[in-house]
């Protein structure tokens, strides 16, 4: 039987997400005297960048898979020394305004995959959304074959579970882990990091396949010069790949996966400037797995549910519109890290600390802590890294020609198994112009993942052939994580505040999917 929602103590601040941004924010706010609850779905803090094995795996050198591990251990120590409460294994599914008072109710389900019968409510005067990002995927023939995994996903499985994708069953006693051939493909700087980590952990990486060129960066020499750490990071990964003999193919993409029950090979084709595959350029590369991803998309479900305003990045994704203090358009709701735009770990740390300080100032009735040297330095760093993030989004923005590598039978929606042909038909024959209409007509995006995997692709296909459609609205998912009906029922009695409409959004979503 489900238990009723428990009444946890009231906090000054609830931080959602214990990645670099949330950790930095929680530590900063707690050290300035706020009572802080830090919630994360994972069983351990760290988020994507500092994801690491569970203690039982006994990693004596966890730093071997991370750059700058010491930053994380220092933050973790400060968190433990502070009064902040870490609530691990808490999957937040909604944030609503509490009745009458100036408080927020954060609702979470608990357990490894949210399975435990203990819904939790955390009350707080302010909320910091540090929910990070998820990977953007573009479909291609064969992308549903087992052994095709997200690039970040491969990285996450390696960092937490110490495994590689595409291993063959090994005879007893053989060394597990070594030898799988993993092609890394897609677009964005994460590919280099993933390839370097995979190679260092024993995978053979026959190729890294990047759809854009890196020359795009050269058009912004001043931004590059202002971000030497980013250049050094790329150089570090590049050197590691050279050492492992990994070939980098730019302006190319995996346009087909071969194999039916598991990956046997991929076809890599050259792309033109718009990412249209060049006919006859396909080369087959034998491999056991493909790690693929086309950059990251901010995870905004909780924020859009609250009505926070969004804006669009150069790559078409939606980000939260934040003021100089990291506050969203909804007073009392703040954000830091990838929710405000994809910028990487240093930016997330910087924004988290800025947000933590600003919230402490606000709740303490002081003006924003702007004048201090630390505040100024953080804001300068943020501006510099945001500029780099904008260049990155532009360089790796998906070209419109990618859909040419689809055939009509390619499943675009993995959950509902909806092929590209049916989505195009919905657009051409039935006039569907956006992802929501396509969803109603074809069920694409209606499955378990609520369109997280196919959202970009469906929106592109629906807009295909139109000169300039209206910009798509951010997807709205009323439930940020799956919730059982009994947990939903326990919400009764909580005033479900009218979230209002986010500025860019026309109408609320009426389907919860699933």
């Amino acid at each position: 039987m489900p238990h009723p929602v428990t009444d946890d103590p009231e906090y000054d601040l609830a931080v959602i997400g214990a990645g670099p941004a949330g950790l930095a924010g929680a530590v900063a706010a707690a050290e300035l005297g706020l009572s802080v609850a830090l919630l994360d779905a994972s069983s351990q803090p760290g988020g994507q960048f500092y994801r690491h094995p569970a203690p039982a795996l006994g990693a004596t050198r966890p730093e071997a898979l991370h750059h700058d591990w010491a930053t994380f251990t220092a933050l973790r120590r400060r968190l433990a020394d502070s009064t902040a409460t870490l609530l691990a294994g808490h999957h937040v599914w909604t944030v609503v305004r509490a009745e009458a008072r100036d408080l927020w109710d954060v609702h979470a389900v608990t357990g490894a995959d949210g399975d435990r019968d203990r819904p939790v409510r955390v009350r707080a005067r302010a909320v910091l959304l540090a929910t990070g990002a998820y990977e953007r995927h573009l479909p291609f023939p064969g992308w549903t074959v087992p052994g095709v995994v997200g690039a970040g996903g491969a990285q996450a499985m390696l960092k937490s579970g110490l495994v590689l994708p595409g291993l063959r069953a090994s005879p007893a006693g053989a060394r597990p882990g070594a030898g799988a051939r993993v092609v890394v493909a897609g677009s964005g700087p994460l590919l280099l990091a993933v390839a370097a980590t995979l190679a260092a952990a024993g995978a053979r990486v026959p190729a890294v396949v990047e759809a854009s060129g890196y020359l795009g960066y050269a058009r912004h020499p001043r931004t590059l010069a202002a971000n030497p750490h980013k250049v050094a990071e790329a150089a570090r990964h590049g050197a590691a790949l050279l050492r492992h003999g990994v070939r980098l193919r730019t302006r190319s993409a995996v346009t087909r996966v071969h194999g039916s029950d598991r990956v046997e090979a991929v076809t890599v084709s050259r792309l033109d400037r718009d990412w249209r595959p060049v006919r006859g350029s396909g080369r087959r590369i034998a491999c056991d797995a493909l790690a693929v991803g086309f950059g990251l998309v901010p995870q905004l479900d909780l924020a859009t549910g609250l009505g926070c305003a969004t804006r669009r990045a150069r790559d078409g994704s939606h980000l939260l519109d934040l003021d100089a203090q990291q506050e969203t358009s909804v007073p009392g709701i703040w954000a830091a890290g990838e929710t405000g735009g994809i910028g990487g770990v240093e930016l997330a740390l910087t924004e988290g600390e800025l947000a933590g300080r600003a919230i402490a100032a606000r709740l303490g009735g002081r003006a924003a802590a702007g004048g201090s040297g630390r505040g100024r330095a953080l804001r300068r760093r943020r501006a510099r890294m945001r500029a780099f993030a904008a260049v990155m989004a532009a360089v790796h923005a998906p070209g419109a020609g990618w859909s040419r590598w689809l055939d009509d039978t390619t499943d675009v929606c993995r959950c509902e198994e909806v092929g590209a042909g049916r989505i195009r038909e919905a657009a051409t024959a039935f006039g569907a112009r956006d992802a929501r209409t396509v969803k109603l007509l074809t069920r694409a995006g209606m499955g378990w993942c609520q369109g997280r995997m196919c959202g970009t692709a469906v929106a592109c296909l629906a807009a295909e052939g139109r000169e300039q459609g209206p910009p798509p609205a951010p997807e709205r998912r009323p439930l940020a994580v799956p919730v059982r009906l009994d947990a939903l029922a326990a919400l009764t009695g909580t005033a479900a505040s009218d979230p209002g409409e986010p500025e860019e959004h026309a109408a609320g979503e009426d389907s919860t999917g699933g």
Binding site: S43, Q48, P53, A54, A56, L57, G58, A59, T60, R61, P62, A64, L65, A112, D113, D115, Y134, E135, T144, P146, G147, V149, G150, G152, G153, A154, Q155, A156, M157, L158, S160, G161, L162, V163, L164, P165, L167, R168, A169, S170, R175, P176, G177, A178, A199, A200, A201, G202, A240, H244, D261, R262, R414, C415, E417, G447, W448, C449, R452, M453
Partner: protein, 107 residues
């Protein structure tokens, strides 16, 4: 950087004692602290679900709980995200078919 190391060697892992789980009745070795998906990958298994419409094999894709492609039936309970659920000694993982009715003889 040495070549052909395993991930565990790379981080100098000295794990707690390994234990047995089963996949469709077949015994596998899992390490404490690994998710079920990680244990299956380590054993060379990439698929543990078939889709509702096409009956196609699927396994872990996003690796972080977002895509639901890794749904497995664990000890008779369907629709568990194998990339999130930690492996425990004696766990019986069975291929989940379609909507996730547990395999016959599983309960």
């Amino acid at each position: 950087m040495a070549r052909d190391r395993s991930p565990a060697e790379r981080v100098g892992a000295v794990p707690d004692p390994a234990f047995e789980i089963t996949f469709d009745g077949r015994p596998l070795v899992a390490l404490p602290g690994q998710s079920l998906a990680a244990a299956l990958w380590a054993a060379g298994i990439l698929a543990w679900r078939t889709t509702r419409v096409g009956g196609r094999p699927r396994g872990a894709f996003c690796g972080i709980g977002h895509c639901f492609d890794c749904l497995a039936t664990v000890n008779g309970a369907p629709n568990r995200r194998a990339c999130l659920v930690p492996a425990r000694p004696g766990d019986a993982v069975t291929t989940q078919e379609g909507h996730g009715h547990a395999a016959p003889g599983d309960r």
